[in-house]
């Protein structure tokens, strides 16, 4: 699998470390039940199909990037830096 790094171009997946699905953490302050915490920490977001996820270009530019990849075909349709402030306008 080749991962398109916005900085380095298409690079072998072996150069990257996986960071899991990119998802916003739910509001946890003030939650007293365990269920919200369980969902926040342990929800196995595991779709068959496109998923937006984080990768770290460890043996490359050392950027955290965000890609949209199909978990069945491994086709990657989108790639950008993970930090919105570092993205091109």
């Amino acid at each position: 699998m080749l991962i398109p790094c916005p900085f380095c171009g298409h690079r072998d997946q072996a150069e990257f470390a996986y960071g899991g699905p990119a998802r916003a953490l739910p509001e946890l302050d003030g939650q007293d039940g365990t269920h919200a915490w369980r969902t926040a920490l342990y929800s196995g977001y595991n779709p068959r199909g496109p998923v937006t996820e984080l990768w770290f270009h460890a043996n490359g530019c050392e950027s955290w990037i965000q890609i949209t990849r199909d978990t069945v075909t491994h086709r990657i349709t989108r790639s950008c830096l993970a930090n919105p402030r570092e993205r091109e306008p």
Binding site: D12, G44, V51
Partner: protein, 417 residues
């Protein structure tokens, strides 16, 4: 029919043209006492023990494709119980006891070969931790041995312990009761036994939903129609989250590729199963002479059942570090399976919040060895309604109560296990 030497001889004389099919193709009824979703080793073992231990035979095993097409027949067949945590050890050691006599019980040759499992340590610190694990095993009644130097060389003469190495082999934990079992025979052996007790094994029939009324299971929907039932088990390995979602359950696991590789066959040189821990690679030689090699997962969510090349290179590089002579062999086959890996790397087995619906998932790439024990315990849960003590630590709610069962201490993400 019973398989025997006489049957073999008789059929040989008739040119082996009249062996009856192992499985029939029954018509699905509109209701069953128990429905088992998934005809892998675990589902079929549960069916067998429902009949054998509890006399319950109004049971259907409903399989999306064909039995033994999932991870049951994609794994590397290693069985062992060298685990540190009580929970893992007890369930897998119970399984090891069952494997011992299962071929006779099922009248089906599972080719269980207790040829020994040798886990290599690469630093003093690692050997220390292996010694802790060996002692824990002994205290719980299993045998385990720590081997170093000449004793290790005598056990696995093909190891090279000389010279300067990036990852030297310092010693090993050996469990002689560990070994290999022929994986697809397990599916067929359990299926044949369950079917001959009257249990229906329905192939090519995906389950598409569950009907739940007032928090209780009332039916399972399938491609071939609705099946009324008040007790069911989801045991679908890589498809676990999808099936659980149909019942409104959120399982803490990810589906990840795991690969296996097989070389051309050569004369016997290796009797033990050897596991190399500087990075992960394990090797064993089949009775046909092929080397079976495996390693860690591909490390990211995937349903592709097609491994990435980087991992193949990684596993092969480590295989050569253990046994340099493997460099002269060619790879003949390679494949991947979708493993269901939880946030603590251990299985989820037991009840769910839907009354009557049980779950067996999260076995990842180490669930084959547990097949008969999981089946035995799940049959008890489905048959009697009481949760066997062995299953208590594997409850789904452990992620809420903070009692994770992380054997490897690898951390709280599926792709780390």
């Amino acid at each position: 029919m019973t398989y025997s030497a006489a049957a073999l001889l008789g059929h040989a004389i008739l040119g082996n043209k009249h062996w009856p099919a192992i499985l029939n193709t029954p018509d699905m009824r509109s209701s069953y006492d128990v429905v088992i979703v998934g005809g892998g080793g675990h589902g079929l073992a549960t069916a067998h023990y429902l009949a054998a231990n509890h006399g319950i035979t109004d049971v259907a095993v409903i399989e999306a494709a064909w039995i033994g097409g999932g991870n049951t027949a994609r794994n590397t067949g290693i069985v062992r119980s060298d685990y540190l945590l009580n929970s893992s050890f007890r369930l897998k050691n119970f399984a090891l006891g069952l494997w011992n006599d299962l071929s006779r019980q099922l009248n089906f040759n599972l080719m269980y070969e207790p040829r020994g499992y040798v886990d290599l340590a690469h630093s003093d610190d690692e050997l220390e931790r292996f010694t802790l694990r060996a002692n824990a095993m002994r205290l719980r009644g299993a045998e385990a041995e720590i081997l170093t130097g000449d004793a290790l060389l005598a056990r696995v003469p093909q190891l090279d312990l000389t010279g300067e190495k990036r990852f030297p082999v310092i010693g090993a934990l050996a469990q002689e009761a560990g070994g290999v079992v022929r994986h697809d025979a397990v599916a067929w052996g359990f299926a044949r036994s369950a079917a001959s007790a009257g249990i229906h094994i329905i192939q090519n029939c995906p389950v598409t939903g569950f009907e739940i009324t007032g928090g209780r299971l009332s039916a399972v929907r399938t491609a071939l129609g609705r099946v009324a039932c008040t007790r069911a088990l989801i045991t679908v390995a890589g498809a676990s989250t999808a099936l659980a979602e149909m019942a409104g359950l959120d399982l803490p696991l990810n589906s990840i590729n795991v690969q296996a590789l097989v070389t051309e066959p050569v004369n016997p040189v290796l009797d033990a199963v050897v596991n190399y821990n500087a990075g992960l690679c394990y090797a064993s030689q089949t009775s046909k002479g092929e080397f079976v090699l495996g390693g860690a997962t591909d490390g990211y969510t995937s349903y592709a059942r097609r491994g990435n090349f980087g991992k193949i290179e990684d596993v092969l590089a480590r295989a050569l570090q253990i046994f340099p002579f493997l460099s002269r062999l060619r790879l003949m086959r390679h494949w991947a399976g979708t493993a269901d890996i939880t946030f603590d790397g251990n299985a989820i087995v037991g009840r769910t919040e839907v009354e009557g619906l049980m779950i067996n998932a999260g076995w990842g790439y180490s669930g084959f060895k547990a097949t008969p024990a999981a089946g035995w315990c799940l049959a008890e849960l489905l048959g009697t309604g009481t949760l066997p003590e062995l299953l208590v630590p594997f409850s789904l709610n452990r992620f809420e109560t903070g009692s994770e069962q992380d054997d490897a201490g690898a951390g709280p993400y599926p792709w780390l296990h």
